[in-house]
Amino acid sequence: MEANLEQRGLAMKREEINVCVLRVGGTNCDAETKRAFDELGVQAEVVHVNEMVKRRSLLEYNALVFPGGFSYGDYVRAGAIWAKWILAKLGKELKAFVYENRPVLGICNGFQVLVEAGLLPGFEGISPYPEAALATNFPPGYNCRWVYIKHENDVKCVFTRKIPKGKVLRMPVAHSEGRLIFAKEKEKQYLKRLYENDQLVFRYCKKNGVYAEGRFPTNPNGSFHDIVGVCNREGTIFGLMPHPERAFYWWQQPDWTRRARMPQYGDGKLIFESLIEYLVKKF
């Protein structure tokens, strides 16, 4: 379909797509994220937020990525300072970006930023105050390991459209605050809405696809309902705790020295490919 659109000159060419990977003190994996886009033939630029505020505009880009890390030292709450800073300095642009359905991806700390900024879960658009939190892991502490995650989304999330529902992927997590929670009195209601709006994207599971049911280490942080990542109502904003950019190449996999043959790419590639397919069709 997109090939036909490209041939007819109705779609954007891959090499014309321009992705912004925002950076600030304490972010990490911005280089890996850029490299994933480079590998797939898309232009990606790592831009410091101060540069964005002073001389650039978010609207120069087709997609925006908040990478992982520990922005502003995770002070106050993980992602909180960067989230409020972005809203204060780039709020207008960011809202325009989101209202035009330009995609926004938040990886790990980026997910925390999107939740703290009220962009996710975004049941009614951007919320003035956070509707969820990424709380301290249970069991407590920094957790760095490979996990299995099961794709739960029907069609909504533009970052996972190339992944069949029910498929189990493998990616690494590395965080201390990844336990997604809702206000106690809203837990049931919000979970129902996630399902009704097709906003639930991944859940932690075993290799065979059986859900973790909160059990460590299959669920590495105690996240409510084994939730790994969610998208907004429109499916254009997506946040997840694992790092797809660290599961992109075969040589990033934990077992590559033990296996005789490895597929060329890891499961993380599917996230980037799905996004690019959406961008090719949209612009």
Partner: protein, 79 residues
């Protein structure tokens, strides 16, 4: 002025639970430990009421996440 941000009841508190466990191991009869964060702020203002209102706004905009946090504000005049 002091702003104390603490966890709302009902949410699990891994930091508090781990601390309580260790205090018990050390022989103390501790039932529960709650961990909170205290911000101490100094600012110039016309009235104490105005400061309290401003602190409330600070909590909502940055210091607390309403999903899991309660906050308490104590305003004192500095001499």
């Amino acid at each position: 002025m002091k702003i104390e941000v603490s966890l709302k009841p009902g949410h699990s508190d891994p930091e508090g639970e781990t601390t309580a466990r260790l205090l018990k191991e050390l022989g103390y009869k501790v039932e529960r430990v709650g961990v909170s964060k205290v911000y101490s702020l100094s600012l110039e203002a016309e009235s104490l009421e105005g400061v309290a209102a401003e602190a409330e706004e600070m909590c909502k905009r940055l210091l607390a996440n309403p999903t899991k946090d309660n906050y308490a504000i104590v305003v004192e005049e500095e001499k």
